[in-house]
Symmetry: C3
Subunit: 346 residues, 3 copies
Amino acid sequence: MFRLDELVARLGGDLVGDGALQVRRVATLDQAGEGDLAFLANPKYLSRLKTSQAAAVIVGHKARDAVTDRPRIVADDPYLYYARVAAVFNPPQAAVAGIHPTASVASAIPASVQIDAGVVVEADVELGENVIIGAGCSIGRGSRIGAGSRLAPRVVVYPGSVVGRDCIIHSGAVIGSDGFGFAREKDGRWVKIPQMGRVVIGDDVEIGANTTIDRGALDDTVIGRGAKLDNLIQIAHNVQIGEDTAIAGCVGIAGSTTIGARCMIAGGVGISGHLSIADDVVVSAATVVVKSIHKPGVYTSTLPMQPHADWVRNFSHLRHLDALADRIKALENAVQRTSDANNTQE
Amino acid sequence: MFRLDELVARLGGDLVGDGALQVRRVATLDQAGEGDLAFLANPKYLSRLKTSQAAAVIVGHKARDAVTDRPRIVADDPYLYYARVAAVFNPPQAAVAGIHPTASVASAIPASVQIDAGVVVEADVELGENVIIGAGCSIGRGSRIGAGSRLAPRVVVYPGSVVGRDCIIHSGAVIGSDGFGFAREKDGRWVKIPQMGRVVIGDDVEIGANTTIDRGALDDTVIGRGAKLDNLIQIAHNVQIGEDTAIAGCVGIAGSTTIGARCMIAGGVGISGHLSIADDVVVSAATVVVKSIHKPGVYTSTLPMQPHADWVRNFSHLRHLDALADRIKALENAVQRTSDANNTQE
Amino acid sequence: MFRLDELVARLGGDLVGDGALQVRRVATLDQAGEGDLAFLANPKYLSRLKTSQAAAVIVGHKARDAVTDRPRIVADDPYLYYARVAAVFNPPQAAVAGIHPTASVASAIPASVQIDAGVVVEADVELGENVIIGAGCSIGRGSRIGAGSRLAPRVVVYPGSVVGRDCIIHSGAVIGSDGFGFAREKDGRWVKIPQMGRVVIGDDVEIGANTTIDRGALDDTVIGRGAKLDNLIQIAHNVQIGEDTAIAGCVGIAGSTTIGARCMIAGGVGISGHLSIADDVVVSAATVVVKSIHKPGVYTSTLPMQPHADWVRNFSHLRHLDALADRIKALENAVQRTSDANNTQE
């Protein structure tokens, strides 16, 4: 339970109404009941604000007076304010210091660290203060994980990887697996190229469940500070992701591509190898990026879905666009000839 | 070994021929040998029926007399019948009650439950009768798993998740990881939004290997009874999947989307967030769904593949469809003018 | 440290310059410093060769004299040579024989095998000499893994799977999970079809992190000798992959499809079920294959990305290609009529 005036004292914003009101949690406008603090992030839900049972609300400046009878916090960005309030109500899990008896730890680690059941920490590993290593994680030889970072159960960190401070890595993520590098013999057989680079992850990075990040071949694979990666993402060897770039689920980024800072890569996007993507680029869902992008902006190749019968009728032409274009050219020539002929006749 | 008349007594269907014949297993028509029961599910394989070495066959009503000399079971749906016979021959793994000494179990569990090596069951977990938890699974605090459900090795269930009865969850699946939710600061930094909802999975659900299902932000992520999810699927926070909906591999569904009952989502499909998909919708392979679908039917945006040289020639026009359309409009105007002029001349 | 003449004695190639020179590692031209052996695989980086600080270089025949003052190895294929030299400097991890006390091993295994912490090996498993099973792997009953194969931590091998010699399987990979096979009741409910086939993997195969390979329904799923699979790939039941075929990340291959030898499947490709792909086929990134491919060659359906505004303008026509084609046909008819009329007039 927090009083509204406590929240405002801690997080800023303008308080309108009874600051002594106690709220017990944050909730959506629809879900909120007695004792709940809701938020209006999107003005189009204004009507829901009116019917909501929330005890208090977080609103933007324009909606300041949209509800006159309820205590409210007025914030520049109600959604961001909600994120901060939610973190006050739901602080991140704190390390419960100690090593579970079933863990196998071959490195000296700070007393503040929490190591859960079945964890393996190989030799020469450095863990920062208050690190949490969830059940069944495997931390390879010579890796470093910065203070305050939390690994959910069953994360694998290959030898020699570097994870910054205050990172969150979700279950099943694999950090530092071999890049996909092979040379080819004349007869088609593949010769493995040893992958000797590392994965280096900056501070405050979050990595989703079952996401894979390969180590570099000779140089490192680098994930910049503050980057956020969703689930089931594949980051190939030698990729570099800029600071504060967010990547949604099911994205694949091929080898040696560099992505700038503050980019937003939507779900299902594929990005070819050896490309360079500028800062502040947005790539729409399911787009395939096969060329470098040099300027900020939104880039798209999403295909519009249709009812199947319409699709059959329309998409059959996709194989014959060249012929369609030739027919247009022939028509232009014919029309031009007619026009010339008519002009001559006149 | 089962007698044909035993199978018919148990599963229905019409028996034609010697019901005392013993069969030892089910097999494909091509693979079947002595003692095998094969099935003809697709009439186009009728010729294989004739050459098959199967001792007996399951056929539909139309193929009842296609083989006159072999015992056969005539069923309304031979493929469905095959599925049932196969389950008779290969009953699901039964729990071998007991807790492996290397497991770490912090909750009271029924004596009938099987807990394999290295499993972690945190506090306040409820497991139903005959649950099987495979080696190295991690079951987070406060989770519930219904009777008869089976988890293959290395499944992670985050705290507070709910799994129904008779579910099957394959290795590497992650249930209840944090949704991908962040608010953005003015300088582009991301502020994590605590993910406080749950994952709630109904009865008789199957979840494939390395599939990830995120917990809700404020509300729950819900997988309906009887839904079947293949491998490497990403289900984002607050998604709702209807009953008996089947989703093939490599599908990604973005946050807060609702999918109806009995849908079939083919492999590689991507579905954007905050959409609503009706009951009984079929989405073709690799289609990208960016709008809600309000009516049952088949929906598609699959791109036809071509030999590369043809593709280069055709797809170059895709970037210039607008110009092509303009040229067609210009031609129509020119032809109209010519026609008008000719009419005037006449 | 190796002398250049030692390397040439071991790996072939022509030595030009001081063979007594010692090199300590391989490096890129840009990265290389004192004691480093760099390589020029792509002639377009010739200028980097000139500025590189490398002590020695691997070059092709054409670049033999591009640097006159540095010791060099001249090879037919400098990239392949680099791969081999890198393997000399970085030999694969050798098994450290022994079973970790926290492992649960229910089969007799050779003394040369390395079993790490928390591993589970069920009954009737056969492991070849020098196999390495990384921490937390689960090897199901009756599986076989050939000599020299190495499993990184947290790999799951379901019962009855077969892995060849000298394979590498990365963390989180799941081998032998159930195929996605269901028959459908009239009311839409799914009846699971027991998956009774195996996964059979040939020698010298590499399988990437979090890749999933389902067991066959009745027959086996087969990965041919020398095949290389990257991360987050889904191989459905009964698929057959030919020898030396390489598959990049995020590819999905649906059930019962057969892929030939020496194919190269780029990242993000989706291949439908029940298809047949010939030997030596190359499929471009993100292409969707919905028909069999009978001839070697390159096949593509990658969509060109555009700035979003251009995409909106162009792709809106995609839904109306049929109408565009009709308008072209109408124009052709009109122009023909005009032409006929003019001819008649003359």
